[in-house]
Assembly symmetry: C2
Homo-oligomer: 228 residues x 2
């Protein structure tokens, strides 16, 4: 087994390098057209699609929004997100445990994303693989649901390190699951000191207004920076 | 990107072939010493460690049991499982999203597993990567918690197909999460017709007696088959 590792690492390095080149192309395209791009990563079942459905609904009145959503199989998530009336495209990855920049590029082909204010990218449910792949996004959110336990940042440090902002989801279930919020926050800070953390419930709406305000502010901040 | 794929696939095929050879060595060793080996796969936070802690406690009176537990980082799970008084070893995988047969082999080195009746292997929390790696186990359980949603079998068909038995966990939270059990069961059967499914709550103990009885029966069945 060990004799295979160097060759595998070398190939993996090349794949990642190719991905970085493509991500740079995407990032330049999004910057030029003024589209703010946000990606979401988490375990399966953390609530990425439900949160995203709420985000699309809440932003849609004021902004032009769209979403790309990755899964190994099924177009269930795209169908759910389409209820928000925002344009949505599904990317099915087959057996791959993450999205890559080239898949985002392919999905955008023939789609006029120029007028978009926000593009959201929901990654495959996975706390390991997506961390290595830059998708050209402006911000990456890592989600952690109260049903998963407080220890996940310590057990999956790389994905928390590769993300910009953490979101604790399913806050309405915190009591039923005996989730200890101070411990979870301490674990996030232990892995990534200073990381901004939101606490939301897409079901009750708790924390959503603050979260939406943050998104809108981040977009404005970037646009001013680019204008200067 | 696409030019890299054939080389990557070729290397990956070799890695998997090496893994299968090592898994066969492990399986032969376990068979010869009469150890029944069970592995657990699921998303992060589905409750593998809690279920395994209960299994070890419930089997320990009657059988010699031990566990190996895989994680990217931390030895938290091994510490939790050690409370069951059973021998436990942690395997930390670094950035790898799954266990491989060679890691199991390394972890067993210098450990006299000969007298063991049961060895449990808890994989890294991941619904994608572990599906391709045979660990020499007799039975592979895939866990699905009620907090993750009913659609996971459809979205991660490969891991459900590579497992032998499904276990729905955190049954005590089914009402709070509005989990629809008949839909979940139908989705499991759609992906893998005839798959045996247990429904348990490690917290309330619901379904645990039946589950433990099944493990003990499976071990006896294999031993009789080997004896013939």
């Amino acid at each position: 087994m060990s004799s295979m590792q160097p060759r595998l690492l070398e190939v993996r390095k090349n794949v990642l390098k190719q991905n970085d080149i493509m991500a740079r192309v995407l990032r330049e395209r999004f910057r030029a057209q003024g589209t703010f791009v946000v990606s979401l990563v988490s375990s399966p079942g953390t609530g990425k699609t439900t949160l995203l459905e709420n985000i699309l609904c809440l932003l849609r009145g004021q902004f032009r929004v769209a979403a790309l959503v990755g899964d190994l199989a099924t177009e269930n998530d795209a169908a759910r997100l389409a209820r928000s009336q925002a344009p949505v495209k599904q990317i099915t990855t087959g057996t791959l445990c993450h999205l890559e920049a080239a898949m985002v590029q392919n999905a955008l082909e023939g789609w006029d994303t120029g007028p978009l204010d926000f593009l959201f990218i929901e990654n495959v449910g996975n706390l390991v693989c997506p961390s290595s792949y830059d998708l050209g996004e402006n911000l990456r959110f890592v989600l952690l649901s109260v049903t998963e336990g407080e220890d996940k940042p310590l057990k999956y440090p790389t994905i928390f390190n590769s993300a910009d902002v953490a979101v604790i989801t399913k806050l309405d279930l915190a009591a039923a699951t005996e989730f200890n919020i101070p411990i979870a926050l301490a674990n996030i800070q232990a892995v990534r000191p200073g990381m901004k953390v939101f606490q939301v419930s897409a079901k009750s709406g708790a924390g959503m207004a603050e979260f939406i305000h943050f998104l809108s502010e981040q977009r404005s901040a970037l646009r001013s920076a680019v204008a200067i």
